[in-house]
């Protein structure tokens, strides 16, 4: 990641379902996840109803922001601007410590390689504001 962002990244639409997650990421660089008070399960992506039990009692809780790469792709071609200038882009299925998976970008520094089984963590507050969604790096 050496290029400064020129064109804007596409952004998620802010909705009542996802606003707390987007705000917490932007302001603090932290990941919050919906948890269902009906069945106790964590939920991602954000939604108005628990897909496991249909409860609407979903509350936001901080997540550790740590996980493990389950599988990944490294994208070299076919990226729209501004991502094309940042290729290759690491995209991974990440098993979060909270017991659910998400797909997210993983920044790979020079000399690093993305591997399944690798530990990943959020990029940290300083970098968070640059990215529209919770973004990870390889844990050191």
């Amino acid at each position: 990641m050496t290029n400064e962002v020129s064109a804007a990244y596409p952004e998620a639409r802010v909705t009542p379902d996802n606003a707390p997650m987007l705000k917490r990421w932007r302001e603090a660089g932290e990941l919050v996840l919906q948890h269902c008070e009906g069945c106790g399960k964590a939920v991602f992506y954000p939604r108005p109803v628990c897909p496991h039990c249909w409860s609407d009692r979903l509350v936001w809780r901080p997540a550790s922001g740590k996980g493990t790469v389950v599988s990944f792709s490294v994208i070299h071609r076919g990226l729209p601007a501004p991502f094309d200038a940042e290729a290759p882009i690491g995209l991974a299925e990440i098993a979060l410590e909270e017991g659910i998976s998400m797909i997210a970008r993983v920044l790979v520094a020079d000399g690093e390689e993305l591997e399944s089984g690798a530990g990943v963590a959020l990029v940290g507050k300083a970098d968070a504001a640059r990215f529209p969604l919770p973004t990870f790096r390889i844990a050191r």
Partner: protein, 406 residues
């Protein structure tokens, strides 16, 4: 076909495990016409223009006039805000039944199944099923980030690389979980290309070797260029109606069909899909199984998804597709003829038409009209669909078993 003898009030299996195909397949209503438009890398006309060309061919192959059509369905991801009703107006058709699919590449199979049911229910007598797009690569890339809500909100902001990145994740997972090799998956793309070389309508007809496949430009590692379809323009059409109206020897019966959406639950990059849920019912309803089929037309957005479909549809056990592919030839004259016209991988992907190209090719084969790529003695075939990619994978799976009607 076996009748369900159950008279008890409790279903033999949980309702959620029952497939649509248990209920009804018609001996009277089936596929009586088919047609394909020309395919083009860049659109020379509108979506409806391609559909009109395919529709004319479908009616001609049935020996019917357009006045016979009183039902219309369409599977297209680019047609909205237009729909089946506005398409009927464009075509000057007054219809008693109109339907637009929402299952992406699984939608065309579903639409044809629905059309059989609609006619059986007296809602229409002849249904024209259409699918296609007017697009090129740039158009496709411009809208892929808005394909649906979860892609737009939770994948596009990451620079997810279109569908290539998502299927790169799935393919790598299959490779690391089951030991599947690119050399094995490549057999799908290479043999389909050999089929396309006998299909003058295919856009990609240059000879492809396994070495070409393995060393193609890297797109979304482990996905390379020849794992990807080329978005293009064109359309396909199927005419559903009374089998007895088809020209002699040209009627194609629907022996079984099924759809399944959002299976498995709660996995973002699954190595299986809805086919595994309805597979047994599908073959039971048809009265024959995978070993009795003369060809397979599987949804080939990527070879890895063809591989997963073949596993889920019972051609081999889960995870054993690699060795299975290595032992077979998928050319039209091989021991497992697959996507005998070249499939989307060699013909190009016409949006929702990608879900119908397997149907039209299957009908072409069963009518004995496959020309230089005719599967000898083709009597029975399977068509499967896959689509509506959302957060990580395609949500929709479908399949249909067709047989030359006697």
């Amino acid at each position: 076909m076996s009748q369900s003898p159950s008279t008890s009030r409790a279903p033999a299996r949980p309702v959620s495990d029952r497939a649509v195909s248990d209920r009804a397949v018609s001996d009277r209503i089936g596929i009586i016409g088919y047609g394909s438009s020309a395919y083009e890398k860049s659109p020379s006309r509108s979506e409806a223009g391609y559909m009109a060309e395919a529709a004319r061919a479908a009616l001609a192959s049935a020996g019917l006039e357009r006045s016979a059509v009183d039902g219309i369905s369409v599977s297209s991801t680019t047609l909205p805000p237009d729909n089946a009703v506005t398409l009927a107006e464009t075509f000057g058709l007054s219809v008693s039944w109109a339907s637009i699919g929402n299952a992406g590449g699984a939608g065309a199979v579903v639409n044809v199944f629905d059309a059989v049911h609609a006619i059986e229910a007296g809602r229409a007598s002849h249904v024209l099923c259409l699918a296609g797009a007017a697009q090129d690569g740039a158009f496709f890339r411009g809208r892929i980030g808005r394909f649906n809500g979860s892609i737009g909100d939770y994948l596009a902001p990451h620079g997810f690389g279109g569908m290539n990145g998502l299927f790169g994740i799935i393919q790598r997972k299959h490779m690391q979980t089951y030991g599947t090799k690119r050399e094995q998956l490549g057999r799908i793309a290479v043999d389909q290309r050999a089929n396309a070389r006998r299909n003058e309508a295919a856009l990609l007809r240059k000879e492809m070797t396994l070495e070409d496949y393995l060393t193609a430009p890297l797109i979304a590692d482990p996905i390379r260029l020849f794992d990807c379809v080329m978005p293009c323009s064109g359309a396909e059409a199927i005419l559903v109606g009374p089998l007895e109206e088809a020209p002699s020897g040209k009627a194609v019966a629907v022996r079984a069909a099924a759809e399944r959406h959002n299976h498995p639950l709660g996995e973002v990059s699954p190595l299986r899909g809805g086919w595994e849920v309805f597979r047994d019912d599908l073959y039971e309803t048809a009265g024959f199984g995978p070993g009795d089929l003369d060809f397979v037309q599987a949804y080939d957005d990527y070879p890895i998804m063809v591989a997963i479909q073949l596993e889920d549809l019972g051609f081999c056990a889960k995870g054993e597709i690699g060795p299975f592919l290595a032992e077979r030839r998928m050319t039209f004259d091989g021991d497992l003829p697959l996507n005998t016209g070249g499939g989307q991988l060699s013909c190009g992907q016409t949006g929702g038409g990608g879900g119908m190209i397997g149907l039209t090719e299957a009908v072409r084969q069963l009518r004995g009209e496959g020309g230089a790529r005719q599967v000898a003695g083709a009597r029975r075939g399977l068509v499967s669909g896959y689509g509506m990619v959302a957060y990580g994978h395609g949500l929709s799976a479908s399949a249909m078993i067709l047989e030359r009607a006697q």
